[in-house]
């Protein structure tokens, strides 16, 4: 691995997360993948280790770091299990609208519990008929005196049903299209807020994905994040910030797969030799390692750029997510190939890495949407010059 000149704190975070991964995540990863049991025990260890506070300001009980350190943690956890890692990272996604646009009162009310890991957060934007086209959103929020009344259904929501704090995008003025969306904080126990069934997924099966159903769900007007109509800006800025984290998840899954493939290639004997002595396998391993390193470099560079406070990071964070997730899919598929027939069997770790990798090309904006963002940014830059 290239020396990315981690600070002392970053080395400490990496070592701590590696310890948690080896001692608490790896031993349960295959079992939770099978049973789909939510990893509360592991999340408790992460909470006790102060890791939910990494990206939250010290003022609210966090550690005051940023996305780069969140990426270090997510990458390490993902080496052991992409599903458990996303339960952790999705809470950051749910918290970021509050961190970025929340009022002082909202921050004081919600961030300390999230930083302590006492509560999990989740972000809700996707709907059955509004995926990549978020402007087709049907969920509405109608102002009613000191309250908003929410109606509609969000689906494919990571941490849905498990999280206690939800940041939800809803239309406050449908006639304005994208400019009519707003983001709200909804507490789990709010009357009128229920959950649909838990989705049965290809990968990241330790994580929970559910529908959020709002039926005349009444929330105080203080729970509006930012201003009415600011919803898409809040959502886009949240994704710009969180995308390097998905890149880090992808890099971690890919690295976990490479480590497993390398170990297997050295142990597996065919034609009287370890298969790692064959050039065909060696070239695959070399390509996998090179692609992972390139992805990691891009993820870290974009995470550091987000932390630098630079205003427009959309293109670079989209590149990090796009490239790292494509690498993860490629590397994990090659990992299965190196394992051969064993790679196809659930008894071995290879196929799980491949199943877990796939989602990174899809969520937080499909890779096609990432390409849209990148291309539009390129064109905009050209026009400005």
């Amino acid at each position: 691995m290239i020396d990315y000149l981690f600070t002392e704190d970053q080395v400490m975070i990496r070592d701590l997360c590696r310890e948690i991964t080896d001692e608490k995540i790896r031993p349960v990863a295959a079992e939770l993948d099978r049973t789909e049991e939510f990893p509360w025990d592991v999340l408790k260890v992460m909470a006790d280790s102060d890791l939910f506070g990494l990206y939250i300001d010290e003022k609210y009980g966090g550690m005051g770091f940023g996305i780069m350190n969140l990426c270090i943690a997510t990458e390490e956890f993902s080496k052991g299990c992409g599903g458990i890692a996303i339960c952790y990272a999705a809470s950051a996604l749910g918290a970021y609208p509050i961190i970025l646009y929340g009022s002082e009162e909202q921050k004081e009310k919600y961030l300390p519990d999230l930083a302590a890991g006492k509560k999990l957060a989740a972000f809700g934007i996707t709907e059955p008929a509004a995926g990549s086209d978020a402007s087709a959103m049907q969920t509405t929020a109608k102002k009613d005196g000191n309250h908003y009344i929410l109606n509609g259904t969000k689906h494919f929501i990571t941490n849905g049903g498990e999280a206690q704090v939800y940041t939800v995008v809803a239309m406050t003025d449908k006639s304005k299209g994208a400019r009519g969306a707003s983001v709200f904080i909804v507490d789990k126990d709010t009357p009128g807020f229920t959950f649909g069934k838990k989705e049965d997924k290809l990968g990241i099966r330790a994580s929970a994905t559910r529908e959020l159903i709002f039926t005349d769900c009444k929330i105080p007007k203080e729970n509006l994040i930012g201003r009415e109509g600011q919803g898409f800006i809040v959502a886009m800025k949240t994704f710009d910030t969180s995308r390097p984290g998905i890149g880090a998840q992808a890099v971690g899954i890919a690295q976990g797969a490479l480590d497993a493939a390398l170990q297997y290639a050295r142990e597996r004997k065919q034609f009287g030799k370890s298969i790692s002595s064959f050039q065909g396998i060696q070239f695959m391993l070399a390509d996998m390692a090179t692609q992972i390193e390139a992805a990691r470099a891009l993820v870290y560079a974009s995470a550091r750029e987000v932390d630098s406070g630079k205003k427009n990071v959309s293109m670079n964070s989209a590149m990090a997510k796009l490239y790292a997730s494509d690498v993860a899919m490629k590397v994990t598929t090659d990992c299965v190939q190196i394992f051969g027939g064993y790679g196809y069997m659930k008894e071995y770790p290879a196929e799980k890495y491949m199943r877990d990798a796939k989602i990174t090309q899809i969520y937080e904006g499909t890779n096609q949407v990432q390409r849209n963002i990148i291309a539009l940014s390129l064109i905009k830059q050209k026009v400005r010059k």
Partner: protein, 260 residues
């Protein structure tokens, strides 16, 4: 409730090899760790402090590099760390070690419970804990697997025995040595690790303690080691194969002959 935890830095036994010529440990290049049994003592000490308030102090006698072990204990939640380190302590056997640590504990002043691991993974004597209690003239309970109750002046603990366990009530202050069944040591948190990095370990030399010089180090150690050897491996048993009635009578005859 003030707790003192005594720990020892030992070579990581998972990496240790024995020199076949001298039958001693090859220490070169082997990482040092906190004696695994002491990890349970640290965890229990921190839990007592978290539950009852007060202070958890971690104490070790050893070379300067033992500071790393003490800092790790700080990262797990101990409040203070003391290293007792001096050339005068070199060559201490369990008696001299117990004496020196007891003197250091006396110097810290106010304590309610002293915790030790049941034994160290390198020496395996299990004598230092009891030695400290004897020096301090306080009650001791060894092989503790559970602390049931702690009150102002007494504690009730479960003590492991070969057949099961005993429930023992003791007055405080007391010394407990603990077994691995007592808890699961925590992974040090990020804040704990950061605190440990900044912590300055208090260092005491012989001159800082109220000790009699002739009871320290090699001079104060009546134990001498005549020979160190690996115990012979247990020979393989005999397996009788065949129909049950034949093998049974064979076995009975063999036992009879053996007894007569």
């Amino acid at each position: 409730m003030n707790v003192i935890i005594c720990i020892k830095q030992v070579p990581d036994t998972t990496q240790v090899q024995i020199d076949p010529e001298t039958n001693t440990l090859i220490r070169e290049g082997v990482e040092s760790i906190i004696n695994p049994f002491d990890m349970y003592a640290i965890e229990e000490g921190v839990r007592i402090k978290e539950k009852f308030g007060g202070k958890a102090t971690v104490l070790s006698m050893g070379p300067p590099q033992a500071e790393a072990a003490l800092k790790e204990a700080i990262s797990m939640g101990c409040d203070e760390a003391i290293l007792v380190s001096d050339r005068a302590f070199a060559g201490s056997d369990t008696l001299a070690t117990g004496y020196t640590l007891a003197k250091a504990i006396e110097k810290t002043g106010n304590f309610d419970i002293i915790l030790c691991g049941k034994q160290a993974s390198d020496g395996d004597t299990a004598q230092v804990g009891p030695g400290i209690a004897t020096q301090l003239d306080i009650p001791q309970v060894t092989y503790v697997k559970k602390i049931e109750k702690i009150e102002e002046k007494s504690a009730v603990v479960e003590r492991m025995t070969e057949e099961g366990y005993e429930i023992v009530q003791t007055s405080l202050p007391c010394l407990l040595t603990v077994v691995k069944e007592i808890n699961e040591p925590r992974i040090p948190s990020l804040k704990g690790r950061m605190k440990a990095k900044k912590t300055i370990v208090t260092s005491w030399k012989a001159i800082d303690l109220d000790v009699e010089e002739n009871r320290l180090g090699l001079t104060g150690s009546p134990t001498w080691v005549s020979k160190i050897f690996t115990p012979p491996a247990r020979p393989q048993g005999e397996i009788f194969e065949g129909p049950a009635d034949e093998t049974t009578s064979k076995l009975v005859n063999l036992l009879k002959n053996h007894l007569s």
